[in-house]
Amino acid sequence: MLVVRAITANDLDALYVMATQVGSGMTTLKPDMKMMSDRLAVAVASFAETIAPEKRDYMFVMEDTDNGRIAGVCAIKGAVGLTEPFYNYRIGTLVHSSREIDVFTRMETLYLSNDLTGSTELCSLFLHPDYRTGNNGKLLSKCRFLFIAQFPHLFTEKLIAEMRGYQEESGRSPFYEGLGRHFFKMEFDHVDALTAVGKKSFIAELMPRQPMYVDYLPQDAQDVIGKVHTSTAPARRLLEQEGLYFEGYVDIFDAGPVLQARVSELRAMRESMLAEIGPVMAGEIACAPQADAGDPMLISNTNLSDFRMILSQTAAVNGAIALPEDEQKILHCQPGDSVRTLTLNPRKNPHV
């Protein structure tokens, strides 16, 4: 069985091994022992609540309880851009119009911005290829929404997720070749590596400060603005199901989209429910809403320092949930404890 849980100091080696399998373009997970152990220390302090909320970095690992293997990782950063500037391009519109000669031209522009400073960020999602089956990806990605729904006071109202931008099969980023290369004069991989070691703002400072007309870019660069890497398309869909949407912010290097949401509007905030572990009365089953047979539930405990979450076939009925004993054990729960539940998939018609 797979459990997603708060990371612990013991996970460092497994995390490192996983990072070696991540390709370029994923800047927050690099196989660098020093960086990784620093980050892990922050994550452990975050769950222990020994550092300020905006400095926190909640990392979660997905563990296979059958063999103790780490199958995936994901994270929520309390706030971005508070220690070094956080840059994005905002896609803006400029209209050039002359009534005199009856010309009306609508131009898209890229504005270098720090608009997303202070937002909570979903990041560092990686699922080991061996585990890319069934609902595992969903479980790993969506665990974070359940965590946010359980502890909303720890996060800012604005939530973002940077998506890896489009690259050709060769690894070439058309957007970078059309724009960034002219200003940085270095290979995309190099930029990517610098970004990973926290030098992104240095690079951004080399970027032109004035808005740029999209029309000046080569067509292949224009075409990929806001487009995700092929391998990231499923991840994007998952986030969009949960209430994130593209609002016109893109990465300054590869033009990958930034998805945004207001925390209060997340599906998890509206639909997740607390339930008490215990027997469900026979009479209550009859009045319970008809749950879709086979629709799995995300179930988490309510413990910040030892947050754990699983996928279960058991649904809550009127505030009670008859969770099997082995699942209780994995969640470190016992009868009488509260758990938070959310359907894995959005209901087709949530208002009925």
Partner: protein, 345 residues
């Protein structure tokens, strides 16, 4: 003798004939009779005007060939570019990209729409017939505008500029326009020039042209190559002006990317080298062997009776008078004792 003088109403027919043979472009003569008449009338009024502050005056000079009717060249100077608006151009900026942390240092070129040339005096409409192309008279015609400015500095700015036509293909297309202006104007180069009447001071330029820098590396190769390049027809003007002291590279035209030469008057040879001398009568039979003869452009120092010719005389640096033959005096409409200004040519 070739004479440069202010245009007159009687020149209109000749100007029309010239306009028909001169190149299609916007930095040369107007094409229609109506516009030619307007330009001539404006020039006559400008020469007659008493000017305190340079404004909308436009002075048109013409080159008369000896012994033939009509004119063989034109050259104009506007007192203050964009006087009833703003003169727009692209400034060639170099943005230094430096990051000590990353050990990166390089520069990026950018074009910025600017109005800095507004109020400069603008030279334009230079045209000289094929026959006179490599003669000193071509230089005289180009330079006469600045000699007039030396004589009447209050009529002009301290700074001058000259836009020269940029590169176009045989169909009148401009690679620079296609990469830039077309995106905003959504029309062909010549159509746009027609719509705007060749002007660079219209409000619609602000409305339509990019407000933010255009980063040169993002432009296609042919557009980059066209930046600051002159149309072959502008070569003579370019050579004369750079010899005069004008500098290219700082500004280019917003439509075709042609170079805009500019200079402060102190760096122009006409200003620094103009000598004011009193007219004396030259010997009827000068002793040619006595002193080497130098070629000068000489202009009558009369603001309202401007005329200029090319002549030869002894070097003037150490003299009080300039010896001019009777026919030169007649061409300049000066007599002994009058003042002229002379510039080596």
């Amino acid at each position: 003798m070739y004479v440069v003088r202010p245009v007159e109403l009687t020149d209109i027919a000749a100007l029309e004939a010239l306009a028909a043979v001169s190149m299609p472009g916007v930095h040369t003569l107007p094409k229609t009779r109506e516009k030619i008449v307007a330009m001539v009338e404006r020039s006559i009024a400008s020469f007659a005007a008493h000017v305190d502050i340079p404004s909308e005056e436009a002075y048109l000079l013409v080159l008369e060939a000896p012994g033939e009717p009509g004119i063989v060249g034109t050259a104009a100077i506007f007192a203050a570019a964009g006087s009833n608006g703003t003169y727009f151009s692209f400034r060639n900026d170099v943005i230094q990209q430096v990051s000590r942390d990353l050990n990166i240092s390089h520069s990026v070129h950018a074009l910025t729409l600017c109005s800095e040339l507004t109020g400069y005096s603008q030279l334009s409409s230079f045209y000289v017939g094929e026959r006179e192309h490599s003669t000193p008279e071509a230089a005289l015609l180009s330079r006469a505008r600045l000699m007039f400015a030396v004589l009447a500095p209050h009529r002009f700015s301290d700074r001058f500029f000259v836009p020269l036509a940029g590169v176009t293909d045989s169909h009148g297309g401009s690679p620079f326009w296609d990469a830039l202006g077309r995106k905003f104007f959504k029309m062909d180069f010549l159509d746009a020039e027609r719509v705007i009447g060749g002007a660079r001071n219209r409000t619609l330029i602000v409305e339509l042209m990019p407000h933010y820098p255009v980063y040169v590396p993002l432009l296609p190769g042919d557009a980059q190559a066209a930046m600051g390049q002159i149309h072959p027809s502008g070569e003579l003007a370019f050579n004369l002006l750079t010899a005069e002291g004008f500098e290219a590279d700082d500004y280019i035209d917003i439509f075709d990317g042609g170079p805009i030469l500019q200079a402060h008057k102190n760096s122009l040879r006409t200003f620094s080298g103009a000598l004011q001398r009193r007219v004396a009568l030259a010997d009827e039979a000068p002793d040619r062997g006595r002193e080497p003869q130098v070629r000068y452009a000489v202009a009558a120092a009369a603001e309202h009776q401007f005329r200029a010719v090319v002549t030869h005389c002894a070097a003037l640096e150490s003299q009080v008078n300039v010896a001019l033959s009777a026919d030169v005096q007649e061409a300049l409409r000066v007599t002994e004792g009058d003042t002229v200004i002379c510039v080596r040519i």
